[in-house]
Symmetry: C2
Subunit: 178 residues, 2 copies
């Protein structure tokens, strides 16, 4: 997927991943808890979001089928998370614990490379997001997702999509009727 693993490495890796089945609208990580797991989403949908001072949700990242991720800052630092993790659909996923993740990172060069790729992609994604937030209008951000990632518009509720685009639901509703 991201790195070339040897046969014996794959064995070791897959031993670390535990399958889980989680119903829709369940919190995988609460605000204030330390993120202890990294996820591979087999089917379903999980998002990371946080709640601002006005009580509004801000969605940072959405994982659909075959995506990977977690509340990365807390997972890295092992400090309490600002972000929550929540399923948006019934979800089948694989979870690897923090300790196993970083044990693999110490023992396996190919895992280090895998982790580097994850970090590089996560960085680029965030960078692009900042670029869009600071230079595009609400409509342009919507059009961009429509063009680059239309599956999000199909799969997410307007409420969640709006929080992903960093606009209010009312604004999204008006946007769509243009």
């Amino acid at each position: 997927m991201f790195a070339d693993f040897e046969e014996h490495e794959l064995k070791k890796i897959s031993d670390c991943f535990k399958p889980k089945s989680v119903k829709k609208n369940n919190i995988l990580l609460h605000e204030g808890s330390v993120c202890k797991e990294f996820y591979f989403i087999y089917t379903g949908c999980v998002r990371t979001f946080f709640i601002d001072k006005n009580g509004h949700e801000k969605t940072r990242y959405v994982m659909l089928d075959n995506h990977i991720g977690t509340a990365l800052t807390s997972f890295i630092t092992q400090k309490p998370s600002i972000e929550c993790l929540e399923t948006l659909d019934d979800t089948e996923l694989l979870a690897i614990s923090h300790s196993n993740f970083f044990r693999l990172n110490e023992e396996m060069v190919s895992w280090k490379i895998f982790y580097q790729r994850i970090l590089e992609m996560a960085y680029s994604f965030q960078n692009k997001k900042i670029e869009h937030l600071t230079t595009l209008t609400a409509k342009q951000r919507y059009d961009n997702v429509l063009k680059e990632n239309p599956v999000l518009i199909q799969r997410l509720s307007n409420r969640v999509l709006a929080s992903y685009l960093d606009i209010r639901e009312e604004t999204l509703s008006r946007l769509k009727s243009k």
Copy 2:
């Protein structure tokens, strides 16, 4: 600094870094060029920024004395950069080429760890920036920098500081007189 290097590793690493002396207001990387170098700033000041559709500058990151960095997305992908690199003061720096950087990354486990740390920190920094952009007012962002990183307010011109805070110069001027 970020990782523990052995004596013989340090030798190898320092051989890769070339010192450069760059006068104030020089462009180290133009928009559209591929970023070929990673920098350690010995003394001085370098920023990364890009120019939006309205011709306004947006400053992503500022490197002061003893900071490291580059136009990271282009450096990673080796695709043309959206960002520019520019000195804001007379600057003494050390530069390592892309090829040497990633040769060290292949040859040296401790360099892999070093690079991981850089990526983790860059990610966290961008994540925090998004959080602030989407939840804080212009005034709150200014106050945050004043509290967390006051040296920026001392060293940067209002024009550059405003573009770092993602506000217009006029707004910053009004903010400061409150």
